[in-house]
C-alpha cells in the first residue's frame, strides 16, 4: 500500500517533471557533445587489474609525445617500480630517472642547480611554472597528468548512473573513456562551424573547440616488437589512446590493485560476520519469543 503510494507519487511527479523538462532538454541536444563510447578496460570491475604491458606502452606514449607539454608532477619515478603498476624493475627506474635533469638546490653558494634524477624524484615538469606553460601553449596551460583520469568524466543520466554504482554493473572508467574519445575525436569541423585561431575541432570536447592540436598520429610511436617482428599491438591512434589512458588511470590511482584486492577480503569478511551475527541475534531474541523486524506484516498493518 505505502510502497505503491510512493511509486505512484514518484511516477506522477517524474512525468510532470519530464513534461516540463522536455523543452530545455531538446534545445540542449542541438549543441550536445556526443557521449564518449565505452571501451573495454582490463582494470574495470571488481576483479579488474592493470595490464602491465599496456601501462608500459602508455608510459612510452606519455614520455615520447604528451610529456613535451603535460607535466605529471605528483608521480615519482619510483612509482613505476611499485607493486600494482607498470612493473619496471628498480634498476630500470634508476636508469630512467638518471636520463632526466632535476632542479635541486640551493647549494652551499646559494644557487639552484640541475642534477640527474633519482628514483625518489617526481617527474620534472616541461615548463618551469604555469605561466610559462600557458605562454608557450597559446595562453592555456596544458593540464597536469597526475590525476587527470579522475578529473574528467561525463554524465550518463538516469537510470544509468544508478547502474554504475551497483555490483556487477558498476563502472567507474568514464574518465578514461573520455580521454580515449578526446584523442580519437579530432575531425574536420562540420559545415558552418567557425574554428578560431589556435582552436581545433574535436567531436568529444565540450563546446568542440579545444586548444590542444591533434597530438598523435598512426605510427608515431614505435611499440616493442613481438617474436614475429611485428608490434605487439597495432600502432594506431586508437591503440595509443587506450594505452595512454590506461597509464593515466594508473597514475591517478596507483593503489587501485591493492584497493580492489583488500576490498574483496573486507567485504567477504563482513558478509560472514553479518551472517554469524544474524544467527546470534536470532538465538538471543528466541528467549523473548523471537524478535520483531521490518519484514513482519503485523508491524505494517495499516489499520
Amino acid at each position: 500500500m505505502t510502497i505503491r503510494t510512493l511509486l505512484a507519487a514518484t511516477l506522477v511527479a517524474a512525468s510532470l517533471g519530464g513534461a516540463l523538462m522536455g523543452a530545455p532538454a531538446s534545445a540542449e541536444d542541438a549543441h550536445a557533445t556526443p557521449q564518449p563510447p565505452r571501451q573495454k578496460w582490463s582494470y574495470a570491475g571488481v576483479f579488474g587489474s592493470f595490464d602491465q604491458g599496456q601501462l608500459q606502452r602508455g608510459f612510452q606514449v606519455y614520455k615520447e609525445v604528451c610529456s613535451a607539454c603535460h607535466s605529471m608532477k605528483l608521480v615519482a619515478f619510483r612509482n613505476l617500480a611499485e607493486a600494482g603498476g607498470p612493473g619496471y624493475s628498480a634498476a630500470q627506474v634508476k636508469a630512467l630517472a638518471a636520463t632526466y635533469q632535476v632542479k635541486d638546490g640551493p647549494n652551499d653558494s646559494g644557487e639552484m642547480f640541475e642534477r640527474p634524477g633519482r628514483p625518489a624524484d617526481r617527474f620534472p615538469p616541461p615548463f618551469p611554472n604555469d605561466q610559462a606553460a600557458a605562454a608557450a601553449n597559446g595562453g592555456k596551460a596544458p593540464p597536469d597528468f597526475s590525476v587527470l583520469a579522475k578529473a574528467r568524466t561525463y554524465e550518463r543520466g538516469f537510470p544509468w548512473f544508478v547502474l554504475d554504482a551497483l555490483p556487477f554493473t558498476g563502472y567507474s572508467e568514464q574518465g578514461v573513456d573520455y580521454i580515449h574519445a578526446l584523442l580519437t575525436g579530432y575531425e574536420e569541423p562540420p559545415q558552418g562551424t567557425e574554428v578560431p585561431d589556435g582552436g581545433h575541432y574535436n567531436k568529444y570536447y565540450p563546446g568542440h573547440i579545444i586548444a590542444m592540436p591533434n597530438p598523435i598520429s598512426d605510427g608515431q610511436v614505435s611499440y616493442p616488437k613481438g617474436d614475429d617482428g611485428q608490434p605487439v599491438v597495432p600502432e594506431t591512434v586508437d591503440q595509443y589512446s587506450k594505452d595512454v589512458a590506461a597509464f593515466m588511470a594508473w597514475a591517478a590511482e596507483p593503489h587501485m590493485m591493492a584497493r580492489k584486492a583488500l576490498g574483496l577480503r573486507v567485504i567477504l569478511f563482513l558478509i560472514v560476520l553479518a551472517g554469524l551475527l544474524y544467527y546470534v541475534k536470532k538465538r538471543v531474541w528466541a528467549d523473548v519469543g523471537g524478535e520483531t523486524h521490518g519484514l513482519q506484516p503485523e508491524l505494517h498493518k495499516t489499520f
Binding site: 615519482a76 619510483r78 611499485e82 628514483p119 625518489a120 554469524l276 546470534v280 538465538r283
Partner: protein, 191 residues
Amino acid sequence: MANTTAAAPAGAAPQEGTRRDFLFLATGAGLAVGAGAVAWPFVASMAPDAATIAAGAPLEVDLSPITDGQIVNVFWRGKLIFVRKLTEKEITDMKAVPVGQLIDPAAADTRVKKGHEQWLVVYGNCTHLGCVPIGHSGNFEGWSCPCHGSQFDALGRVRRGPAPINLPIPPYAFQSDTKIRIGEEGGKAAA
C-alpha cells in the same frame, strides 16, 4: 551474553548449548579480528611514508673546503651530522686517552676510517635527549651540550654524563680523499 546462555531453556539438549556457545564464540572472535584488522591501517599510516623512505638517498659531501679544526653541519634523512676535520694535536690527544676510563669505551681508531684519521663523521644530536651539542667547547676539545651538560671529546666520545653513549657514526664511505658519501657503507646502501 552470559546471561542469555544461562537463561537457555532448561530442557534443551546439551548439544544445543554447545552449538550455541560455539556460535557466540565464533562471532565474538570475528568481531575481535575485525576490530584488530581495522586498527592496522591506522597504525601503519603513522610509519614513515613511501616518499620519506625513498628520499633518504645517500648524500655526497665535498671535504675540500673544510679547514683544520672546522666542524661542518650536513643533513641526511633530516638528521644533523657533524663532519669535523681534526687537527694533529687533537688526533694525538685523543689517542692518548685511556680507553678503559671512558663512559662508553671506544678506541680512537674505531671512531674514524682507516687512512682518514683526520675526519670524524658523527650524528649531531646528544645521546641524552637529542639537543645539539656546541662545538669547540667543554673540557675535552669536543662538544658540550647546552641542555643537560653532557660533554663529548674531539672524537664524539661521551666524557661526562648524563649522555650514556658516544655520538653514533652514520654509515658513510670515502669516495676519494676529499669526498664522502653518507648513507652508504662501502658501496652498499644502508637500510
